[in-house]
Symmetry: C2
Subunit: 389 residues, 2 copies
């Protein structure tokens, strides 16, 4: 693994600011990220049929492949708000553009929080005034301003070739592939043309965010974007993709571990699948199974649930006698049947974080790794009263 | 709705008995159901790739379309137990056949409980001795002997034409379509040839058990079977199907309401879909969404989650502007956007049981109804330590 910067930092030319503008009762609720020059850009958005207003606007803006700033609010997602919602998203982008002195079409807008509530646009417009003077060098501050049910701000950075790559994200619940209830922004000073950036982003997301599931619910606000301002010049494309992949996995793991109510990261590695798609399906079935998630939480070695979850992928090519599995490195299934293991040892290993499940299907050579978290009473408590909290 | 018998009763010629044979620490754990003459029969089994040993045996036995008895144990599912498991299932069937004086191939065997543990076959064989003398008229006793995490025994009966139709079932967790962690047995004195019985059972299951989900996890033991001993002679096929459908829905609802940790039944009715398959997909997405399930538990009207769940069916034809939704009969979505509702009123309606969600897609005329339950801390508690409990 490439070493991460500690603390994380921005690539040359990128800065951010965060404020409390009155959307949450207390705490930061608005973040602004900006480059000193226009950057090439690419983005992926949710496939949910009810995209939020910022997604509708974002799809329009990303077509040109150029962005200079990102403005994000927490607490209200501006989803299912009709024409007025789209107008509010435009106003939010315009206010950020005015404050930064950049063209409105270079601003990507995101909102995250409760669905179906009117965006308090007046508070956001008023709150943005003067924020340009507060732009600073710490990406963790920007991460803090976009948190909803997240417990920790999520920002990481590393060197890729001669350039820096930084990622800032949020996400804790309503997270399932295509994409997840998450907002993730990459910033780099590498020089990468927009079409290439788009291809690299899709490639990196495929093995990270697209295989991340906290609760199988696909949000209406998901956004993964990357801005490249070119200050560090061209970098080797393979190096860059390698770094982008590493940082994507790092962020996917951070979001999984911070899943609503979660106490640990859950990872499922599937090997020997007939196709990559089948490897992904089985890996997702494992991290999404409520019975496996509760087993991870309870550290209770009910290994039959692994076979159950593999077996429920009824459309995948699975030959029971060839299936083997390991839990925290310990062999628990051989030839499709339960394999005797040292129960106290496994129980103690399961108490750790992360919980790793490895399944070998023995029918081909494709593999995939999916990310999730355990399922606890905390998820119930947070979500039984989220709208009113 | 056709009135149910109260208390439920068996059709002519069917009886059952239940005993504690030492599989559970206490409580009934073995049930025997028998007809006085051979019956025509049909059955559906799990599609999980790791079927339990009783499923392997059951598939073989149901081919002839004839059964006279069903023997079921709780606590150990005899799944992932290899060749020895299949031999144990055969021995269990033979012991029941010997006790009843019927041919072994006329006995259907089921086991439910923890996966990957050896079946204590000696206890079952010893426990069956003398059970024939205890056969009685109350189907609730048979239902009680097959409970695992179920809180209530599930048995219903009604008249269909001039015959009686009785259903006995269990199921609470690891329940998802194809089929569900459930065992359901129908008994009737109607005379129905086996191939016709098979077609009717599939038809009735399609709109009930195949649309029932407690936790999206598909069990390795699921069985739905029907035995028809003919004592009441031929009945009208349409009447019979109507009754079979009603009783299937009744049992699916009972299993949903008794879902692990659940406090209420959750139902989703989808209308105006492009195809029946899409209607089923959307209805399932609604009852399977953890965020909708926790909303039902918390009685917290976060209606945006309904749009989220409909919208995450990315492969269905959904036109946002045409989508409308009602929650407990109250309109909450119109034209794809949140529709103002009386919040205290909805909150109070949501505190009830069942919670009903109706979604009109407005793109076709197909419809479906799915069944599930709320998600509570109780589900976590039960499943974080099931193997060791």
């Amino acid at each position: 693994m490439t070493p991460l910067h500690d603390p994380p930092r921005f690539p040359r030319g990128f800065r951010c600011a965060s404020r409390h503008v009155g959307l949450k009762a207390s705490g930061l609720d608005l973040s602004l990220f900006a480059s000193d020059v226009p950057a090439t850009a690419a983005a992926l958005f949710t496939r949910n049929h009810f995209p939020g207003a910022p997604i509708i606007l974002g799809r329009e803006r990303i077509r040109a492949g150029r962005l200079q700033a990102v403005v994000v609010n927490a607490k209200v997602s501006n989803v299912a708000t009709g024409e007025e919602g789209v107008e509010h998203a435009r106003r939010m982008g315009r206010a950020a553009a005015l404050e930064l002195g950049v063209a409105p079409e270079l601003v990507l807008v995101s909102s995250t929080g409760v669905i179906g509530r009117r965006l308090p646009i007046e508070k956001i417009e008023a709150g943005l005034v003067g924020m340009a003077d507060e732009l600073g060098e710490d990406p963790r501050l920007g991460a803090e301003g976009i948190m909803t049910t997240d417990r920790v701000p999520k920002a990481f950075s590393m060197e890729v070739g001669g350039a820096t790559l930084t990622v800032v994200g949020k996400g804790a619940g309503m997270i399932a592939p295509n994409l997840a209830t998450m907002l993730v922004y990459f910033f780099t000073d590498a020089e990468v043309p927009a079409p290439e950036l788009d291809a690299l982003l899709r490639e990196a997301a495929r093995d990270s965010f697209q295989l991340l599931s906290v609760d199988t619910d696909t949000s209406t606000s998901d956004t993964v974007a990357i801005l490249a301002n070119g200050h560090a010049g061209r970098v080797d494309a393979a190096d860059f993709l390698h770094g982008l992949r590493e940082l994507s996995v790092r962020m996917a793991e951070a979001i999984g571990r911070d899943g609503e109510g979660a106490t640990k990261l859950l990872r499922a590695q599937v090997t020997g699948a007939a196709t990559a798609e089948e490897a992904r399906l089985v890996a997702r079935a494992l991290v999404e199974s409520p019975l496996i998630k509760t087993m991870a939480f309870g550290a209770d070695p009910n290994v039959g649930r692994i076979l159950m979850a593999v077996g429920k992928c009824v459309d995948c090519r699975i030959v029971p006698e060839r299936v083997g599995a390991r839990l925290q490195g310990l062999e628990v299934v051989r030839g499709g049947a339960a394999f005797p293991f040292d129960e106290p040892q496994l129980r103690s290993l399961l108490a750790g974080d992360p919980v790793d499940i490895e399944v070998e299907l023995g029918v081909g050579s494709a593999e995939a790794r999916a990310f999730g978290c355990d399922l606890t009473e905390g998820y119930i408590r947070e979500n039984a009263s989220y709208a009113s909290s």
